[in-house]
């Protein structure tokens, strides 16, 4: 079974630039999550989708972050404009049912 795919794996941008990350969940998984993991910290949920609807986006900085999951399959997370403090690993996870989440390898973002 293929795992959660994410791209790119690494991205370096300058502050105020825009960036987008892509996630393809495990086939058949209805729930998709985006997490932000700052160096030295645990992952923090940014947004949760159930199919193509948003379940929880309370921790998403909506002035600069946006996410979509068209057709209820893959998803993109965008940051516009990026700030220095956005440097982190962005993890995507998917879940077929309650509680068990499968994580992708992450995208490491460096904002200069």
């Amino acid at each position: 079974e293929a795992g959660v795919a994410q791209s790119p794996r690494y991205k370096i941008i300058e502050k105020r630039q825009s960036v987008a990350f892509w996630c393809n969940p495990i086939s058949g998984h209805a729930t998709l999550y985006w997490y932000q993991q700052i160096l030295g910290q645990g992952p923090k949920l940014l947004i949760q989708f159930q199919n193509n609807g948003v379940v929880d986006d309370s921790q998403l900085p909506k002035d600069r972050f946006s996410a979509e999951r068209l057709k209820g399959v893959d998803s993109t997370l965008k940051i516009q404009p990026a700030k220095l403090e956005d440097s982190a690993v962005y993890l995507c996870a998917s879940s077929p049912a309650h509680n068990e989440q499968f994580f992708g390898p992450g995208t490491r973002l460096t904002v200069l």
């Binding site: 030295g40 645990g42 949760q48 309650h98 068990e100 992450g106 490491r108």
Partner: protein, 112 residues
Amino acid sequence: AQSVTQLDSQVPVFEEAPVELRCNYSSSVSVYLFWYVQYPNQGLQLLLKYLSGSTLVKGINGFEAEFNKSQTSFHLRKPSVHISDTAEYFCAVSPGANNLFFGTGTRLTVIP
């Protein structure tokens, strides 16, 4: 609200020695409990989970954890560690069917 405390940010241990990684949580509701492992430049992998039933949970790679409701703890143990166990370990709680709340992680370093 939920929170997770991993008291030890770093744990060095000699190969073949036992190890315990500590996790305490607080929650106003019943929670599910998880341990994830993160190898360098990889996503998180589920080690084990407690949903209900027996308080001693066995996971992959010889790890086990014990849920102690009175002490609100979910410590992770392994009787004999291997070099390949060197990684970051995250404890997480979930109040229900939704997102995970992670601790700050414990870096386990196995010394040859």
